[in-house]
Amino acid sequence: MTATSGGAGSPHLHQPASVALVMRQVLMAIIPMLVVMFYCYGPGVILQWLWALLVAHACEALLLRWRGLPLQPHLSDGSAAVTATIFALAMPPWAPWWLTVMGLVFALALVKHAYGGLGHNLFNPAMAGYVFLLLCFPVAMKAWAPIDAGHTAPGWIESLIRFVGGAPSPVDGYSGATVLEYTRTQLRAMKMMSEIGSQPIYGLLGDRNAQWVNVAAFVGGLWLLRIGVIRWQIPAALLSALFIIATVFHLADGDRYAPPLLHLFSGATMLGAFFVATDPVSAPGTQRGRLLFGIAVGLLIYLIRTFGNYPDGVAFAVLIMNGAAPFIERHTQPRILGARS
């Protein structure tokens, strides 16, 4: 009678989770958002996404090769796909192809692998890549929705032309501002919320288009919560903080400060709350730390949107707090069972 010893220590039982599975589930949760964006902004969304996937995997493969790591299982761990997808969703749908290449190379090479690869990056790669483009190519990064409701989304051919760089100029009918940017410029021009609030760009909750994207992200996020891929602390803290500070300002002066729902359902709020700020690698791991982190990101989003130079503050807010995450974690260690006080 013989038995081979597995050579592994206890435990000898493992739950079915794996890195690849977690990443797959995150991707699945993003799909509703992708569909809604396709519906609102046209085929540019899909082109961006597929292109980003291709670029990210090629880049990841090269970097792994360079670092002397095997492609299996690292390339198929799904982390590059998640970074690429979140990055693509943050990009304006009519950004030219080379913008995506620059952003992703920056994200993967400098933000992820230079720090040691999966699990070692201090900042969220997708957001870092996005902010890098925002700082270096501010005009090209504005290629968002048409401002007047008369326009419909462009077709495949036109999207493709813009994608390969055929129509770089942002000052035509398709390029324009999101509702956040519009509100900001109008309010700074001393218009009042009650005047501009009736423009067709506004929808029921927020941006006419982006509100549905946000709803889709919210639904996907709830599913992730349900299956335990993300935990409630960060999204709950972030959204509550954003809601509360927006409510306070709006109640104090409703004409100068946008209503709270506009903040919750415009821009990248829900994407940020459920898919970006929850990125475990760059957020604190302790429960209390996550609450603090979420609150800080929520407040920063509001402050940057309202008083800062950029219409949307999600990426900046997350990156700033990424930098503080190790510190927060160190100072929010729970009391251990039986600790002598």
Partner: protein
């Protein structure tokens, strides 16, 4: 009456796999050809044999006696001839240790039982009986029960907890024992309660053991409260259960008695009953054999029975790709040798596909799941990072030694990192350093004493050594012996670890 329930942090729900083995009554296996008794138990120092090879022994006859405080008596579980006293493989660690081997003669002749203790026997008398009967904790740690009783005699015991919370998956030996021997368990609990004059006595089982609960409850009363706790792993952990039932916490590196608690396993309670009332030493125990065997179930196994015997009886032929785990899947150890004997702490033999356990690990994605489930609220991820980087001081500052090695963290880790192996190795590394330092300090002291003696010899030759007289063991010495015993177990476990838990997946991520 129900049990109090205070919250404890962390824990994880694991698939139970209990009805694989707990549906049928326990069985008595045929006598094995030989019985093997390691002189040293899981914890404590080796017992001293009082028989020699060639001697005929009877069932219940004492084979070896404890010489020290933390040690145990051993008794023959059936009649036979002492074949050998020598080195044989034992678990844990499959290392060899000195064992008494008895060749079973099949006649089953027995010594007379001791007379039962009188109903008004005091704590000291009960303690002496437990030493004589070799009763030790049967829940896993194997701590001699008389040591706990002694602690209870010298300090106030608010709560006596009888632990029937068998929280590891697959294991059902306590479950079956509670269903079949509830009388003995509750009676044993009453004896223990009286011995230490405990304020209250709780018997706790898990919520999915309704039969065991009902069986115990029919014997409970005013003085003994039986109830169930949620089936969250590791609810049966000593510190977790104490926190849950009393709201009090055992201090870090402390003993339960410091929280006013004594805890015994249900099987121990029954062994106490057998020793005190039936006058029999501890000679057998329930062992679950489960997993990929043809007839999973529970055996009333004689102590000393080779593991292979129970596996054969359960219809397992021994297949190359399978491994046998002694203990449960969360904290048990894979055996590399199947002739090791069942001891007083062997609760389960689990046969598993070996392939399932060797998973390639990925880099840590800092998901924080290990922190969330840790029942001690340790920062398991930071501990892992320090252990891996060899920064043992930092790991110690993060309370490495409070880790109970429950495996909850590694169970949930999506990157399949063998976290517990890292912790064990780090602990062993620290222990080794400490031992070196102690030896150095000891040598220095010895040298200084030597110098002093030389100096003293020249002045006053009659100065007596000021050491405390041996024989009466003071509290300090007992503590020291207990600590040393715990140390040894730790070292033993670490020795069984694979030498380097890192593998290909991680090596390049510098």
């Amino acid at each position: 009456m129900t049990l109090p329930q205070h919250a404890w942090g962390g824990g994880v729900r694991v698939p139970r796999h209990k009805n694989l083995s707990n549906t049928g009554a326990s069985r008595v296996p045929p006598l094995p050809a030989r019985l093997i008794y390691p002189l040293r138990s899981h914890i404590g120092t080796a017992a001293r044999p009082i028989i020699k090879p060639g001697d005929r022994v009877l069932r219940g006859q004492c084979l070896a006696q404890p010489d020290t405080y933390v040690s145990q008596a051993l008794h023959a579980a059936t009649s036979g001839v002492v074949r050998d006293i020598g080195d044989f493989p034992v678990a844990p660690g499959d290392i060899t240790a000195t064992c008494i081997v008895i060749e079973v003669d099949g006649e089953g002749r027995s010594v007379d039982p001791w007379p039962p203790l009188s109903a008004d026997a005091d704590g000291d008398a009960i303690q002496r009986r437990l030493v004589e009967a070799g009763v030790i904790g049967m829940g896993g740690a194997g701590f001699p029960s008389h040591v706990k009783v002694r602690e209870g005699l010298t300090r106030t015991v608010q709560t006596l907890i009888i632990n029937g919370v068998e929280c590891e998956p697959y294991i059902t030996c306590d479950d079956r024992l509670m269903r079949e021997h509830a009388t003995g368990i509750v009676a044993g609990a009453r004896w223990l309660k009286r011995a230490v004059n405990a304020g209250e006595c709780f018997i706790a089982v898990e919520e999915d053991m309704p039969e065991a609960l009902a069986a115990l409850q029919s014997h409970a009363g005013e003085d003994v409260t039986v109830g169930s706790v949620p089936a969250i792993y590791p609810a049966g952990g000593e510190k977790q259960l104490i926190k849950m039932l009393t709201g009090r916490e055992v201090p870090s590196k402390g003993l339960p008695i410091q929280a006013g608690v004594l805890m015994h396993n249900v099987a121990t309670a029954q062994a106490v009953y057998q020793a005190v009332v039936e006058g029999r030493p501890l000679m057998s125990r329930y062992v679950t054999v489960t997993g990929s065997v043809q007839q999973p179930g529970n055996w009333q196994a004689l102590l000393g029975t080779p593991v292979s015997h129970l596996l054969q009886q359960s219809g397992w032929g021994g297949y190359g790709k399978q491994q046998v785990i002694m203990g449960g899947p969360m904290m048990g150890m894979a055996l590399s040798h199947l002739e090791v004997p069942v001891t007083k702490v062997t609760n389960c033999l689990l046969v598993q596909e070996a392939a399932r356990v060797s998973m390639m690990s990925m880099p840590c994605i800092r998901c924080g799941e290990c922190l969330r489930v840790c029942p001690v609220q340790l920062n398991a991820r930071a501990l892992y990072e320090y252990a891996r980087a060899g920064d043992l001081d930092a790991a110690q500052d993060l309370h490495l030694f409070d880790c109970i090695e429950c495996g909850a963290c590694a169970y949930v880790c999506p990157s399949h990192i063998p976290l517990v192996s890292y912790y064990r190795q780090a602990k062993a590394g620290i222990a080794a350093t400490e031992r070196r330092q102690q030896t150095a300090a000891e040598n220095r002291r010895r040298y200084e004493r030597h110098e002093q003696r030389l100096a003293a010899d020249q002045t006053a030759p009659e100065t007596a050594e000021s050491a405390s007289p041996a024989g009466t063991m003071d509290k300090e010495a007992m503590r020291a012996e207990i600590t040393a015993a715990v140390e040894r177990v730790r070292a033993k476990r670490a020795a069984n670890e694979p030498p380097d838990p890192t593998n290909g997946g991680e090596s390049g991520a510098a």
